[in-house]
């Protein structure tokens, strides 16, 4: 075992290497823009250079003169196609070519299609738009910004949570803080660029595009094109980074499909990194006001969290992380309110832990401020306010191991050696600071279908229309089948990323491992039942044994007393060559129509704070050390430790990898990451990886992930809490806390850069 392959603890699975690792590192994994290769025409987008107004004229002559140009799809060409819808499967309701109105910077105004990529690019650059320009609203505080209540505007946020009488409790509290925080615009910037490749075989439309939602896209694309969903196939077997950006379908997909239809040949459009800033989704900037009232003993009596989020004029995208922050501690009274601020921007969308990243950042920064105000150790302050039930609905937590996480992480980090006095710790010219924060992410699951086949040779095929977005879900689904059926992992083949497979929910909300593994588990158990019956019937090798007492291991069925039968022999006795089981999983609380909705690409999410019996969350604690040069004030992070508890860990290697990636991203969010918006024009300025900074290897030094054992049978049959989005929650607050400890500067606006520390 090494750091990358942690030794499994209680209720933790083996750190098997990813089953597709070799394909990926040897270039044999084919990503959506790699296929198909024959007879391809290339598309390039032309996008708007204004954020608000109308396209009055489009000059196409220069573009049409480019040798090799085949077609230009623009206004009028999409009239027979339905406009996109905003929702789970659709990024925006803006149909960019349905209407000459410009809603945001970088909006698609045309698609140029040519024989070569170079010609398409050249033509797209030569398309000239004339505009009737209006003064755009860029963001908060911009002229024309409209603020509305978020509650009820989006099914994701029905109401603002509250409990008790905040005003009275806050007024009576002997210790109070009232502080404002902000987080910047962020774009996902996955290394794999966004692309659509579409072609038609008769009535059948085949689309290769990196997506986290093949089933949802199949249905939504069919709706837009007014064709039968059965005639649409979406393929996305490998994805080079998604982080939510490839969850909802953008308008480009239908535009490329129309271009392919017009030309009668495959069309591939890979958007440039610059264009992705305007044509895809992003994490919108947020603002927060937090008030906390507490007794001198450190017990919180009043908590208020107000949030403001930017969205587009077209769509009410909302994250409302107050549903998590309002349940985090034993507050006494809770008041929350979320507002949306409409601006001339593209519609935001899911980005790794969409609600928790900004809202928990604000909460945990405020918790640290309150601990300082109380003169209390920040870990102790959280321990004092650990709840027995969540404060909103007074429901129990299905499991909550936050304090165990704090204790183990603090121990590994050496928190006890921290001198709490601000600025007291130094190493030569470097100021040393240490801070911590809580991570939380709701545990949800959605209906999911899977098919598992076991042959008499012991080969297993798992089919599920989920998506390998880098999390390792293909591996853990295979691991589940391998464990349940008693066959080695190298005999297991897992197919995913194809809308013709049994449907799975969108790979978002950290639900995939729980949902997929629960469905695979069910299918495997159906196979076990058939084999068990075959093995235990009168006159069979394990006659007399009860099905539930049988174990499947090493290619054998093993009875309680030790008697066993080879699975291949049981197949022979049964006179069958393969057993193929199709299973549908529905989480507890699913509505009667839940499975139908799965096939319609509208999966129901259950768990988190939605269930009647309990609330379900995964937790973690992160500790960070920063070093800040006393002259030049650059901030470096030599050490970070995170301890996380998330129920059953299917594979300690992939779990650690997910959490590590999250923590690294959290450091980037704390110190580097921000999309800059030019307020005059409502346009993004730093639209490439030169100016949009994320951590490089040199930024990440000693990073430790601790997987705290936890058992939770209430969450789902697999006992799994999703952790894909847990790791980057709280990290930025831990960094802010450490920066304060080193310097005495409380930075409330992310990212924390030299600019703020040098004044």
């Amino acid at each position: 075992m090494d750091a990358a392959a942690p030794k499994p603890g209680e209720n933790q699975g083996e750190p098997l290497p990813r089953i597709d690792a070799r394909l990926k590192v040897t270039g044999q994994a084919h990503y959506p823009a790699d296929l198909p290769t024959a007879n391809i025409a290339y598309g390039a987008l032309s996008t708007s250079s204004i954020a608000r107004g109308r396209v009055t004229k489009l000059r196409l002559d220069d573009a049409r003169a480019v040798p090799g140009l085949l077609d230009i799809v623009t206004y009028g060409d999409m009239d027979k196609v339905e406009k996109p819808k905003f929702g789970n499967s659709g990024a925006t309701s803006i149909g960019p070519l349905h209407d000459r109105t410009i809603f945001h910077d970088g909006q698609i105004i045309a698609l140029a299609v040519a024989e070569t990529f170079e010609a398409a690019e050249e033509a797209a650059q030569l398309i000239r738009a004339e505009y009737e320009e209006e003064k755009p609203t860029a963001s908060f505080d911009s002229p024309g910004a409209k603020t509305v209540d978020a509650a009820g505007k989006n099914p994701m946020h029905k109401e603002d949570v509250k409990a008790g009488n905040f005003d009275a409790a806050y007024a009576a509290a002997p210790v109070r803080i009232d502080a404002r925080y902000s987080t910047p615009t962020q774009h996902h910037n996955p290394i794999e660029l966004f692309s659509t490749t579409a072609f038609w075989q008769g009535d059948q439309l085949i689309v290769h595009e990196p997506t986290q939602n093949v089933t949802g896209w199949k249905v939504e694309l069919a709706r837009q094109l007014k064709i039968d969903p059965a005639n649409v196939r979406i393929l996305s077997p490998f994805i080079g980074g998604a982080f939510g950006s490839k969850g909802p379908m953008t308008p480009r997909t239908a535009i490329v499909a129309v271009a392919a239809k017009r030309l009668g040949r495959p069309v591939r459009c890979v958007t440039s990194r610059m264009q992705a800033f305007g044509t895809q989704t992003y994490r919108a900037e947020t603002r927060h006001r937090i008030r906390i009232g507490a007794g001198r003993d450190g017990r919180i009596t009043a908590f208020a969290h107000e949030g403001w989020e930017v969205t587009s004029r077209a769509d009410a995208y909302v994250v409302a992380g107050t549903s998590a922050t309002g349940r985090m501690y034993d507050y006494g009274s809770v008041l929350t309110h979320v507002s949306l601020v409409e601006a001339d921007r593209n519609t935001p969308g899911y980005m790794r832990s969409p609600p928790e990243t900004p809202y928990v950042y604000a909460l945990e920064n405020a918790m640290d401020e309150m601990a300082v105000t109380l003169g209390m150790d920040p870990v102790e302050f959280r321990r004092i306010n650990e709840p027995k039930v969540e404060p909103i609905g007074k429901k129990p937590f299905s499991s909550r191991s936050l304090i165990q996480c704090y204790d183990q992480a603090a121990d590994a980090f050496g928190w006890a050696k921290r001198d709490p006095k601000v600025g007291a710790m130094r190493d030569g010219d470097w100021l040393v600071g240490m801070g911590c924060a809580t991570a939380i992410y709701p545990t949800a699951a959605a209906p999911c279908a899977a098919r598992v086949r076991l042959t008499s040779d012991g080969d297993v095929r798992v089919q599920c229309g989920s998506h390998e977005i880098g999390t390792g879900v293909r591996t853990v689904a295979g691991q589940m089948a391998s464990e349940r059926l008693g066959v080695p992992i190298d005999k297991v083949n897992v197919e995913m990323g194809d809308s013709s497979l049994p449907p799975a929910p969108v790979s978002g909300g950290s639900i995939s491992t729980a949902s997929v593994c629960s469905a695979v588990l069910k299918a495997c158990d159906a196979i076990r039942t058939k084999l068990s019956v075959g093995a235990t019937a009168e006159g069979r090798p394990l006659a007399g044994s009860h099905n539930e007492e049988l174990d499947f291991a090493d290619g054998k069925i093993v009875a309680k007393g030790g008697a066993s039968a080879k699975i291949e022999d049981v197949f022979k006795i049964m006179q069958v060559g393969a057993i193929d089981e199709y299973a549908e999983f529905a989480p507890k609380g699913a509505t009667p129509g839940a499975l139908k909705k799965l096939y319609a690409g509208q999966p129901e999410f259950h768990g988190g704070d939605h269930d009647e019996d309990s609330v379900k969350y995964a937790f973690g604690a992160e500790f960070v050390e920063v070093r800040i040069n006393r002259y030049t004030r650059e901030i470096r992070v030599p050490r970070i430790v995170g301890a996380f508890a998330a129920g059953r860990i299917m594979n300690t290697r992939t779990a650690r990898s997910q959490l590590m990636g999250g923590m690294i991203w959290g450091i980037g969010q704390a110190l580097q990451e921000a999309t800059e918006v030019d307020g005059r024009y409502a346009r993004y300025v730093n639209r490439d990886l030169q100016d949009y900074l994320v951590p490089v290897n040199a930024d990440i030094r000693d990073l430790q992930v601790i997987l705290v054992p936890e058992v939770d049978h209430a969450v789902n049959p697999a006992g799994v809490k999703g952790l894909g989005e847990l790791g980057n929650v709280g990290t930025a607050a831990a960094v802010a806390s450490a920066v304060y400890h080193a310097t005495g500067n409380r930075i409330r606006d992310l990212p924390i850069r030299i600019d703020q520390l040098i004044a």
């Binding site: 650059q125 030049t632 650059e634 580097q672 030019d678 730093n686 930024d699 850069r753 040098i758």
Partner: protein
């Protein structure tokens, strides 16, 4: 991408001849019909983005003169061939020993992959990364003379506080150039009017009201070598680069410092500043302030004040004035404390 003609001349005179045929005397090298390419790490990017639009590229990588690829160390100093790659020079033992500031400045620039491709001459001629210059839908006086400057009142966190004009505040982002200007380097160039030597300090032009004129070079002139004289202050020299992340980022502020000390006292100081100016920036006032002084935190601070006395900042780059001063103070003290 626009179509262009690609040629690979065999020697310098052939390259100059072709360039001379396809360019005119009044054409700026960065706007000329025919342009030279070596590592391609800057020009190829800008061609893809439509910022650079040459119709003819002259690839210098086939030039047969061996000296173009050599680093020659002698008692007179170090001569770098123009096609030497950044990585080679950064790793060269004698360069590291004799002129640490040069090795530092190269090692701290770009990424390993880029350093293996980029030529030294191309490096010093790299163009600004101003966000508004890079993207052709913005007005930019450097890209399209007279079109205006979007950065002036825009997002200008990266922009220059020294050497700016009303027409342009774009930063010169290179690192190597600060080391060269501090060490009184000379550039050798060959064009249709013959060969000549240009003091490095005269190579780059301040933006003034003509930010599109970036260098002293003619469109058909090729840099053939960079010469660094042997000077007493070269060995005690250092490049300090402050940036938003630990690697692979441009300087927010940097300082190249070379010192000749007499005990604690400064016999000669050479100072150049990066990340804060529109061109490679020699801080002569700061050098003068240190002359014959004991180098300590107070005198270093006085030098830093002198270096930024004329600084002008805008909405987002005001922090660079203070950061630039502190970077210089830290660089001076760290250079003083070097074991030489």
């Amino acid at each position: 991408m626009r179509p262009f003609v690609y040629e690979q001349p065999n020697d310098i005179s052939a390259a100059v001849a072709i360039a001379s045929r396809f360019t005119t005397d009044d054409e700026q090298p960065t706007r000329a019909n025919a342009q030279f390419i070596a590592g391609g790490t800057n020009l190829a990017d800008y061609m893809k983005l439509g910022v650079a639009v040459p119709n003819r590229l002259l690839d210098l990588n086939r030039l047969e003169e061996p000296a173009l690829r050599q680093i020659r160390v002698s008692d007179d100093g170090i001569r770098f061939g123009a096609l030497v790659r950044m990585g080679e020079a950064a790793d060269h033992a004698e360069v590291k020993r004799r002129c640490p500031v040069i090795a530092d400045s190269l090692r701290l620039a770009a990424s390993g992959q880029i350093r293996n491709m980029a030529s030294l001459a191309g490096n010093i001629l790299q163009r600004t990364r101003c966000e508004y210059f890079r993207e052709t839908s913005w007005p930019c006086n450097k890209r399209v003379p007279g079109s205006g400057c979007a950065a002036m009142e825009g997002f200008n966190r990266q922009h220059a506080v020294l050497g700016a004009s009303d027409a342009c505040i774009a930063t010169y982002h290179g690192d190597f150039a600060q080391a060269l200007i501090a060490l009184d380097a000379v550039v050798r160039a060959e064009g249709s009017r013959g060969a000549r030597k240009v003091p490095f300090a005269r190579l780059h032009r301040l933006p003034r009201d003509t930010p599109h004129i970036e260098t002293d070079l003619a469109a058909d002139e090729i840099i053939t070598a960079i010469e660094v004289p042997a000077v007493a202050w070269a060995r005690r020299s250092r490049y300090l680069k402050i940036r938003d992340r630990e690697s692979y980022a441009f300087a927010l502020a940097s300082a190249a410092v070379a010192l000749d000390l007499d005990g604690d006292s400064v016999r000669e100081a050479r100072i150049a500043l990066g990340g804060v100016a529109t061109v490679p920036w020699r801080a002569r006032a700061a050098e003068a302030a240190l002359q014959d002084k004991k180098l300590d935190e107070a005198s270093a601070d006085a030098a830093a004040q002198a270096a930024f006395a004329d600084a002008e900042s805008r909405q987002h780059n005001a922090f660079k004035v203070e950061l630039g001063k502190r970077t210089l103070v830290r660089a001076l003290l760290e250079t003083r404390d070097m074991k030489v």
